[in-house]
């Protein structure tokens, strides 16, 4: 059973705080949670909302229909009431967010002591607790929830925190960043943790300064990372090319939002795959990895540090606003890959083609050898990624129907394949591209692709790497800045799977 709570209000009214507290209440009571947020690019006012979806079993998407609507302002009620289920509960009035979090705890039948102890972690808590208690006492318990109390503690984490966690586990020493939504969460998380950990976060005068400083740190032997969204990534591409020439290990975190240009600053999209694969002038080897949820984000971050160090190449870790800022719940422990440092000071590096002493050269034989040395890194790299599950098949492995996706669409696809006869091929390593993917695609009779963009760059990549063409009618694309919602994707997939059997070529 899935339940959805939608909390909406103006920026500044604190829907986020309610969502976070109820999510904690839910996981502490043994429920799995998926919580996303939609907000406008403004500091106060407007209409923001969070959806907290929960279940006794793991889930990774939000639904359209709402069980409980918390309306912090009239606008929220107006916009979302039509999605409220017939027996749904609406909480509205002139109370503040603390009152409503109290209401929610009571309605769901949770102990007030848990909320009390969570509220004590926030400054000036006494008034908050009083208000929450008033809310708690004003309601009756309406749900008779039974969780499959799991032995393992449920972790709750958003993608940005997970990527930060992965970076710390990889021994990151410097994270250079200029704020840009939706990547800023990594800067915030790493900044908060720099006193207890060994890294430093450094904010410089722009993305160009950041990546060049990161290269400076990397050449003296520090594990370095930078992060931004598409626009900031654009600014870093000349230096990305430098890392290819000078063979500097560097992790670049790219959290996508819809472009082109400033686009939709606080919304989600997957329009930057081609940029990650191709940005930077000249020919050089890179690794591009896109995790699909928070636990995977921790694991893939440690892998990208491993590969960038081992092969002295740049690595691009792709996320998007939906993964970066949504909260995921999981019980399994992430698998950490340990990475050894590869750069040892003293050493010389050059942006020019250079000889063995890194002195610039235009010598015809040296140039040819250098180019081959750099490009040939891809051979071993392509082999070694096969040990790291560069792709994964989920669901009924014998199904003849296949959905392909990458990045944050993983969550909603995992949820819908429980309802429809389909398996799911998630491609996490976009570059290098596993040779085994071709076999998986060949096995399927019907192949659908799901992407949060308008031109389906993954289809093009698959065509380039495997020769397999996905039909336009089998591309399920969403490019309105919003993530796929459970019912919506289920309907789109069912429409295509029920249609007459076709053989694709």
């Amino acid at each position: 059973m899935r339940y959805d709570i939608l909390i909406g209000g103006e920026a500044g009214q604190g829907p986020n705080i309610i969502a976070n507290l109820i999510s904690i209440g839910l996981i502490e009571n043994g429920f799995f949670v998926f919580a996303s947020r939609e907000y406008e690019s403004r500091v106060r006012g407007g209409h923001n909302f969070n959806i907290v979806t929960f279940s006794e079993e793991p889930l990774f998407s939000n639904s359209k229909s709402i069980d409980i609507l918390v309306a912090l302002d009239k606008n929220t009620e107006k916009i979302h009431k039509e999605d409220l289920k017939n027996n749904g509960i609406i909480l509205e009035g002139s109370h503040n967010n603390m009152f409503y979090i109290g209401c929610l705890f009571k309605i769901l039948g949770f102990d007030f002591n848990l909320l009390d102890s969570e509220l004590r972690k926030i400054n000036d808590y006494s008034e908050n607790i009083e208000e929450a208690k008033r809310g708690y006492d004003s309601k009756n318990t309406e749900f008779n929830l039974k969780s499959a109390k799991s032995e393992n503690k449920i972790s709750l984490m958003n993608g940005n925190v997970a990527i930060s966690e992965g970076a710390i586990k990889s021994g990151v020493e410097f994270y250079y960043s200029y704020p840009m939504t939706p990547a800023t969460g990594v800067l915030t998380e790493l900044a908060q943790r720099q006193k207890e950990e060994k890294h430093k976060t450094i904010e410089l005068d722009g993305e160009i300064a950041c990546i060049n400083a990161a290269i400076g740190s990397a050449i003296v032997g520090a594990k370095s990372m930078v992060g931004s969204s598409g626009g900031g990534f654009d600014l870093m591409t000349e230096a990305l090319s430098l890392t290819g020439m000078a063979e500097v290990p560097l992790v670049i975190y790219l959290s996508q939002r819809p472009g082109p240009s400033t686009g939709l600053a606080t919304y989600t999209g997957q329009g930057d795959l081609n940029m990650a694969l191709h940005a930077g002038h000249g020919e050089f080897v890179r690794i591009v990895i896109a995790p699909g949820d928070a636990k995977e984000a921790i694991e893939r971050t440690t892998q990208i540090f491993y590969f960038t160090q081992k092969y002295t190449i740049p690595g691009i870790l792709i996320s998007d606003k939906h993964l970066s800022e949504s909260h995921y719940s999981f019980t399994e422990k992430p698998q950490i890959t340990i990475s050894e440092k590869s750069v040892k000071w003293p050493a010389r590096f050059n942006s020019y083609e250079s000889d063995e002493n890194k002195i610039a050269t235009e010598n015809i034989n040296i140039i040819k050898k250098n180019v081959e040395n750099r490009i040939n890194k891809s051979k071993k790299l392509s082999e070694e990624i096969e040990n790291f599950k560069p792709f994964e098949i989920y669901g009924n492995k014998d199904s003849r129907n296949l959905i392909i996706g990458w990045g944050s669409t993983k969550g909603v696809i995992l949820d819908i394949i429980k309802k429809v006869d389909c398996k799911f091929l998630q491609i996490s390593y976009l570059e290098p591209f596993s040779k085994k993917i071709q076999e998986e695609i060949k096995k399927a009779e019907k192949t659908l692709i799901v992407e949060n963009n308008a031109t389906s760059p993954l289809s093009s990549l698959i065509a380039e790497k495997t020769g397999f063409l996905i039909k336009n009618e089998n591309k399920i694309l969403k490019y309105d800045g919003r993530p796929f919602i459970f019912e919506q994707l289920l309907e789109e997939v069912e429409k295509r799977i029920k249609s007459t059997k076709e053989i694709e070529k």
Partner: protein, 272 residues
Amino acid sequence: MNNSIRTNAESTWCPGCNNFILLHAVQKVIEKQIESGKRKEDFGIVCGIGCHGKIFDYLNLPGINTLHGRTAPTCLGMKLAKPDLNVIGFSGDGDAYAEGIEHLIQMARYNSDFKYIIHNNQVFALTLGQPTPTTELGYIDKTNPDGVAISPLNPVKLMLVMGASFVARTCCETEQIKYVLEEALKHKGFAYIEVLQPCLIFHKNEDYKKRFYNLQKTEHNKTNFEEAMARADEFDYSSKDSKIPVGIFYQKERKTFEELKLNMQIAINSEK
């Protein structure tokens, strides 16, 4: 890397180029430091792109010949990750004052503890003579057949205003560069050193020699900001007859970027 800080790389600077003098002075200063116990790996050099950048090939020291205009942030990143390293950055006037000037401005404010030598030949020489931000008014080249009409930047004033803790200009003369670089290496914090060396090819008739005077041979008080600004105002990079002050305009130590960033306790209680 062998023990010498010199290399056998063929020099591709023009015969008689002022860069030879600059290179010689830098070699002398670093060799002296190595004789008195420093190791080659205690130094890190960074160069950009342009005639100046070729110095990377003539110094057998670790570091990076990086992108055009990105010397300064690269130096900062090295210094943060290895605070004991003596980091020396080299840039041309194109590299420091055109592409990447935002970094120069911020570095003065940050006070990262590296030394930054600007080879100012007042022209984009390697691309065959286009004007930079410090090219004089009226300069004619193929891209400006009617002559440069925009007044040049005064980078010394810019550095002073942005709070650089060490601001110097030298003429292209060995002893003068050696003196200023040695003082800069003793200075804790960002040191800006401009070496004024009009290009022999594109500024054939430029003769600054008679116009230079050494601030350290006058009553100049290098801890006085107003005095430094007044001296910086004497030469506007365009006039044909004004005096050109050289030497250390201004010097006042304060906490460095690395001290502030790497030690959070200091950051919280920081005083300027």
